[in-house]
């Protein structure tokens, strides 16, 4: 099955005189775990924001589940948005709500569950990301950086999305937690079938999690292939990058 879940067509992004994306194409198929790599400031976060419809590219279009989010009526658009979860680079937790309420928020918004069910689901998500149930009453400002990441991930997972977008999910996690995080994503993927697009600078996570890798350089996608195939792509950034992951690839076999 290679249904395109997300289709980015000829996208240009321009901020003032700063051209971030130039004629960028990228297709992501259902069921894949795709990592998006590129130098700092190369426009990875911006691309994720285009995908979830937070921003509109200056030119070109982004299709999600085959539809352009910006050209949909409100109710279907809302439903479509419920099928994706996003983990923001800075967490973006609601600072006025406790951890529990943060995760319960999307569930309550659905108005389909009673409080007992919501409670159970929230505690389940908390245990998924290995947080103690009693952290639920804390406010985001009382959490450490890594904990914020995990709570944000729990919130992104609350609605069991089909498409998960993760902006540097393992930044701020200790190595063991990063590994667990990889396991967690793999588990969910196996149980429910999940498409993941994630941005990372952490090569270990990248190698162990991603099926494909999309490389963003020179304002476009210079490679969109499996990790092994990167070797044959003739681009300085890709070659450099491949040197970094070669050892890891060999180690995992």
């Amino acid at each position: 099955m290679s249904r395109a879940i997300c289709d980015i067509r000829k996208v240009w992004t321009v901020f003032g005189s700063n051209v971030v994306h130039e004629n960028l194409d990228l297709t992501i198929n259902a069921g894949e775990v795709v990592s998006l790599v590129g130098g700092s400031g190369s426009g990875k976060t911006t691309l994720l924001r285009h995908i979830v419809g937070l921003t509109r590219p200056s030119k070109g279009e982004v299709l999600l589940f085959g539809k352009n989010l910006h050209e949909m009526p409100r109710i279907p658009q809302q439903r479509l948005m419920n099928r994706l979860g996003m983990l923001f680079q800075q967490g973006a937790l609601f600072s006025a709500l406790s951890v529990f309420d943060n995760i319960a928020f999307p569930l309550r918004e659905l108005r389909q569950f009673d409080e007992a069910t919501i409670r159970q689901l929230v505690l389940h998500k908390l245990s998924l990301v290995e947080m103690e149930p009693d952290t639920g009453s804390r406010l985001p400002s009382q959490l450490s950086g890594g904990m914020i990441k995990r709570v944000a991930l729990a919130r992104a997972l609350a609605l069991e999305p089909e498409l998960l977008l993760l902006d540097e999910p393992t930044a701020g996690l200790d190595p063991e937690r990063s590994e667990k995080f990889v396991e967690l994503i793999k588990d969910i993927k196996q149980a429910l079938g999940l498409t993941v697009i994630f941005v990372t600078h952490d090569l270990d996570t990248l190698v162990s999690l991603s099926d494909r890798v999309a490389v963003l350089a020179d304002k476009r996608i210079v490679a969109n292939c499996t990790l092994q195939e990167l070797e044959h792509i003739d681009h300085p950034f890709v070659q450099n990058f491949f040197q970094g992951i070669r050892v890891r690839l060999e180690r995992t076999g």
Partner: protein
């Protein structure tokens, strides 16, 4: 792929069984678990019912939790569960979802005392913080006297511009409108007594002594006070204040002091500005209604309103500017790093500032009642 549904049937032995179909997950966008729960309610209650889950295409935690809660955690007489589904239900079972209910007691007189105590603690914490802030301001001022080259000129002038210069149009407009309205109302009253000329006395005294300073203070509290609180608050939320501290820069010196000094410095001038426009408005109205000439209005004003009133008005301006700025900074520094606290503190800052200003004004009026009238 189909939406979640269920079917009731009776097997050969006359036993009732219920089989679930479709996608019991949030993935299927047309699912409505609220309706499903409602429809399943009578069946959940039926203990003898046999549940068959073999036709379920997909079960996620949300669907499982709904079922689990309906079954109240009992998994007997459920068949057709796959390995994974079984595991899912087990994980849910391990979660202790019992909401720790707080025991609700009736009226307890102790809560009243506790509430009183909490209020006292809350107020005293405000007072301590306020006193500490004023103390810190004094210390920083003393430091500046020893090292005048450290004076934050840039921030000081920026604050004068922000809370003074940009406030000019709105204070002028409001002063003028109030002047016109007051003079207009008084004119009709005074005319019935044939006491037209007294409009100058009343208006002059009221505007210069009371209205000018109060109007200015209210406007500045709303404009600049709230802005100061919000700015300091956001700086706290985004840890900018901490970043300053790490660079060895005193946040009081760099953030609070320029605001307080700036507003204290500019406020008396704003008072004059507001009063002038209020008087102009009043003169305009008096001219229209009573036929008093502008020239006469202002000549006469100078003879009936003693200059000491102007001094009083300037003193008030200084006090009000200081109070608004200090209150704004006080509330800003107390903001906790979340949006709720930010909005609450900003509101409190404006309300407290205006209340303080009016209280001070009342006390001041009593103390100076013998001067200049």
């Amino acid at each position: 792929m189909a939406i979640a549904s269920f079917q009731l049937a009776q097997d050969s032995e006359g036993k009732k069984r219920i089989s679930l179909h479709g996608q019991w997950s949030l993935r299927e966008m047309d699912n409505d678990f609220a309706q499903l729960r409602q429809a399943l309610k009578p069946h959940f209650a039926n203990q003898d019912l046999h549940w068959d889950l073999s036709e379920v295409e997909q079960l996620d935690t949300a669907g499982a939790a709904v079922l689990w809660n309906g079954w109240q955690g009992k998994l007997d007489n459920k068949t057709g569960l796959s390995e994974e589904q079984n595991h899912l239900f087990q994980t849910l079972g391990e979660i202790n979802a019992q909401a720790t209910e707080k025991p609700k007691s009736g009226f307890d007189p102790l809560t009243l005392i506790a509430a009183w105590g909490k209020l006292t603690i809350f107020l005293s914490s405000h007072i301590t913080d306020f006193v500490r802030l004023t103390g810190l301001l004094v210390i920083e001022l003393a430091y500046l006297i020893r090292r005048p080259q450290d004076f934050p000129w840039r921030e000081f002038s920026a604050n004068i511009y922000k809370s003074g210069v940009t406030a000019l149009p709105v204070t002028a407009l409001l002063g003028m409108m109030i002047g016109i309205a007051m003079s207009y109302l008084m004119a009709t009253q005074l005319r019935t007594f044939g006491a037209d000329i007294f409009i100058v006395n009343i208006l002059g005294l009221a505007v210069i002594r009371e209205l000018g300073p109060i109007l200015m203070a209210v406007l500045v509290a709303g404009r600049s006070g709230s802005a100061m609180t919000a700015q300091i608050g956001v700086m706290r939320v985004t840890e900018e204040i901490d970043a300053l501290a790490v660079m060895g820069i005193s946040r009081i010196l760099r953030v609070v002091l320029p605001k307080v000094l700036g507003l204290t410095f500019i406020a008396p001038m704003l008072v004059i500005w507001t009063s002038v426009w209020a008087l102009l408005g009043g003169a305009f109205s008096a001219n229209m209604e009573l036929g008093l000439g502008f020239r006469f209005f202002f000549d006469y004003l100078a003879t009936v309103v003693q200059p000491v009133n102007l001094t009083l008005s300037l003193i008030k301006g200084v006090m009000f500017g200081f109070v608004v700025a200090v209150v704004a900074c006080h509330f800003g520094l107390r903001i906790k790093p979340n949006t709720e606290s930010l909005s609450r503190s900003t509101t409190s800052s404006v309300v407290t500032a205006i209340t303080c200003v009016i209280l001070i004004d009342a006390v001041f009026a009593i103390l100076t009642s013998g001067i200049g009238v």
